[in-house]
Symmetry: C2
Subunit: 412 residues, 2 copies
């Protein structure tokens, strides 16, 4: 039983997290939001009040914080009395925020893997390079640390676990598919921080197949999926966080991640990458200025948060899980459909931020209730999936299932 | 009658200029080469000696010079005794180098229009914005200043004048076509300084048609040309320097410039431009660094000089000039074919640098001989074309002609 939430970060996902925490502050208690740029936190606080999102009167405060500064983070956790930290800041701060939680006893939740600025796509399993090195210490100290509790990774891990527990006797394949069929109306934009978005796709594509890590190049393997609501969509084999924990938690099944890309996205990405503009290594201009090209591309692209008002259409993210049930081959597709315009109406963010920001709040609510306050480090598929999916059904991300018996809401 | 040459600049074109000056130092006298980075001049000097390019023993010296510093440029002109300055440095230094020449009495030659860093594609005629404002003073002081004496602008201006003088009674249309059918083997590269190359294509496309400036967008108007040697090639209406003087020197004929582009070039250009990466206006990164995107793109692309060793294939640049001769419609195509590999073998540069660098040396030789030492400012079509084309025939850029009578070397 923990309460009072500190949200670290102030981007599009943090905005969703803040709204959802406010809508559930009867369970979560005080809400604090901290980022390097306090004005961004202030804007989020203002937006929460504007939507009258607070379920009951309570604390909602903005703070300035450099989350790489462990001491400052510890102080903020102690001063605010936060027992739950939701880290939705940049991918570079996981390890320092986790350390501050371990030092103060606060529970830790994040939605994406730790990265070091200079390194792209390290050797698998990625969790083994940073987070899991703190697993023993978390267990010893009784620290609850839930890794990758966004949608993907996060909800899709719970879907995989649910399929294994409830729908199949043995699992042979988990194919996670993430398709954004929405349109933002810009020439080109990324739905997350462009720096993180591109970093995902510039390295080796790792998947788990036949009991080992398989390497491919980005956009090397594409496949058309026939999906509910959004229809037939081409998606490509990508590296992604969830593979790096599911590989060991699905009884040896193949684990692949597929992301939908338009030909236009692929063309722009290919041009930028081929020229070297997606590199995180500095180049020197003729005038002698040292510049990281990727940071300049990011500066030129639209701020992902700015896309929200014009974003239209839906997202479909889910798991095709195949295996054997009662001696016969069986496949289920467990998924969610979200709508960009509805997300904007509710919390002022687009659908991609919505799907990423709601799940860590569900996780926080389960820590608050004790159901997920497991006093150790865990990836989402290591936790009971039903309580999580039940909360998500209630707070904005309902689960559906499609199998031989049809396409329907999942009753949990 | 003037002698001793100061070359300003140390890029691929300057390398060609230095080699060609050395090959003709019996006519041109001492040769000096100056640039911001002296080591680049030293490398050119070394390459000239390596190829044993000096026709006779003589002076060949490298100097450090910031050509925006008029006083330093004046001092260097005086100290070297240079009576002819060939400016093949960046497009931003024309006016300061010209001023230094006007102050010292040296003849001035350049190959491209003056540009201000912050401005792209100003109002036509471009020469009227900067260079021509010094025309009266040049005439008063008896300064020889030959503008745009590369290939295009430069040789193509002489082709237009020759067609008007010798092949047509009245001219209706001048269509200058520049096709590089060579291949450098890189994913993407520009043949000149990427900054200047892209700046040419990001603004309005001005052409002179029906007695007025017509505006188009880049890549809006494309046309297939059937060219000697390189065959059928698609070229696009572009803005280019020579239109901005020919418009008033061709008796009111239409003047258009067409440049060949592959679909791949257009795609890369379109992606970079659409994202804002070709902008000369600074952006601010998330970390607060002020950066000009175009300078970062330049830093990521191959140095044009580095393309030379692998460059294969040929260039075709020429003028389709149409009009009436003896009461009948008539068209001539006056052109040059150059070969990348041959250029590299002779002077260590690729063909594009070769075609741009040989003509200003021919112009210098005509100033040295007195034939073009006109004691005023002139664009190339205002000078007698035959002496120029005769020198070019001899020093590496032979002229050919194709008309109703066939395709042949032009005998002058």
């Amino acid at each position: 039983m923990k309460k009072n939430v500190l949200i670290v970060g102030a981007g599009g996902v943090a905005q969703v997290v803040a709204h959802k925490c406010a809508q559930n502050n009867d369970v979560l208690g005080d809400i604090h939001i901290a980022s390097r740029t306090k004005s961004k936190c202030d804007a989020i606080v203002e937006s929460v009040h504007e939507k009258k999102a607070m379920k009951q009167p309570g604390v909602l405060e903005a703070h300035a914080l450099n989350a790489l500064d462990i001491e400052a983070t510890r102080d903020l956790i102690r001063n605010t009395g936060a027992q739950i930290v939701i880290n939705v800041g940049s991918a570079f701060i996981n390890m320092s925020v986790l350390r501050a939680c371990m030092d103060t006893g606060a529970a830790y939740i994040d939605t994406a893997i730790h990265e070091e600025p200079e390194k792209v796509c390290e050797t698998p399993p990625w969790y083994g390079n940073y987070e899991w090195k703190r697993a023993d210490e978390c267990a010893q100290k009784g620290i609850t640390a839930i890794l990758g509790a966004g949608f993907d990774p996060g909800v899709v891990n719970a879907y995989a676990r649910l399929a294994k527990d409830e729908y199949l006797d043995t699992v042979s394949d988990v194919d996670i598919v993430d398709v954004n069929a929405g349109s933002h109306g810009k020439y080109f934009a990324t739905n997350f921080d462009p720096e993180i978005n591109f970093r995902e796709f510039t390295g080796v594509v790792y998947s788990w197949q036949n009991g080992q890590w398989q390497k491919n190049r980005m956009f090397e393997i594409g496949k058309e999926f026939d999906l509910p609501v959004v229809g037939k969509r081409k998606a490509y084999l990508c590296g992604h966080d969830e593979i790096h924990s599911l590989y060991k938690n699905m009884d040896g099944a193949n684990v692949r991640f597929w992301m939908g890309f338009s030909d236009h996205y692929i063309n722009v990405f290919t041009v930028l990458k081929s020229i070297g503009l997606l590199s995180e290594h500095p180049v020197r201009t003729a005038e002698g200025q040292e510049v990281v090209p990727l940071k300049v591309v990011k500066a030129c692209l639209p701020d992902p948060a700015s896309l929200a008002p014009e974003y239209e259409g839906k997202t479909c993210i889910g798991d095709f899980v195949r295996g054997v049930k009662d001696g016969r081959e069986h496949e289920v597709f467990i998924y969610n459909i979200s709508d960009h315009k509805e997300a904007f109406k509710e919390v002022g963010s687009q659908g991609i931020s919505y799907t990423a920001g709601v799940p860590p709040v569900a996780a926080a609510m389960l820590i608050a209730s004790g159901e997920w306050d497991v006093k150790k480090m865990a990836n989402v598929e290591e936790l009971p999936p039903k309580p999580f999916l039940r909360v998500l059904n209630r707070i904005g991300l309902p689960t559906r299932i499609r199998d031989a018996e049809g396409d329907r809401d999942l009753v949990l």
